[in-house]
Subunit: 141 residues, 2 copies
């Protein structure tokens, strides 16, 4: 199975998980590691503990706030050590989390989930024009 | 000038703004309206107040967590009323906020900022491969 770890500057990752839960309900397969005022050493230690704990049994998708930031860089080091069990997604947003999160109970490969995360995250950032009207088929939540 | 409003299910938008401030510093041009347990009526009222206040003097980009959700739908109604002063971006992430937020003091059209938000948000969601190494030219923050 696959789990998701959300990492970010500050509590953005915690807020994102809360948004997910408001839409999709509770989950034990999505966890968070925020970079706090305690600094990089503290963040790195908590990240390492979560990663080691998860990859003992599962594959891991790490959703990061932004490429080049500390949360991304620290996650990237774990990816380099275990590229067969870990993949990294920069620029995390709620649509990719909803799309992948709600499929985590299904039996898919890590790379399948990875492609879904990248594609759904990108596609969700779409141009909203004046002509476009909300239709009855659109989801509301 | 242009301002940004971040709207989301729960405090995701507040966390996102905090992440922005950790990277780019303080700003008065980015505000938040979270959908809380108080419900849609309360959210709609606070959103309306912020939108009216901002468009009196400035243009407005509304970054939303996900298309089809309440924060998006309520924002879309404001966009329909004032499409010349308001644009909506669904699937908000930190890279688009950093890219646009740090340019808000420059004199650009609303549509120029809108294109930047969409493009930078999409481009940031990129495939990270094992071969890729962080170079000295990469930003670190």
């Amino acid at each position: 199975m696959t789990q998701i770890l959300l990492v970010s500057h500050g509590d953005f990752c915690i807020g994102l998980l809360n948004s997910y839960k408001m839409i999709a309900g509770e989950t034990k397969k999505i966890k968070t590691v925020p970079l706090t005022d305690e600094g990089i050493g503290d963040f790195s230690k908590r990240l390492k503990e979560e990663v080691i704990s998860i990859v003992q049994t599962d594959n891991l998708l790490i959703f990061c706030d932004i490429k080049g930031g500390t949360p991304f860089n620290e996650s990237f080091n774990h990816f380099l050590k275990q590229p067969d069990k870990i993949r990294i997604v920069p620029g995390m947003n709620l649509p990719m989390l909803v799309e992948v999160g709600m499929q985590l109970e299904t039996d898919q490969s890590l790379n399948s989930f990875y492609d879904t995360a990248l594609n759904s995250g990108k596609q969700a950032i779409e141009r909203i024009e004046y002509e476009e009207e909300t239709t009855e088929n659109d989801l509301e939540f």
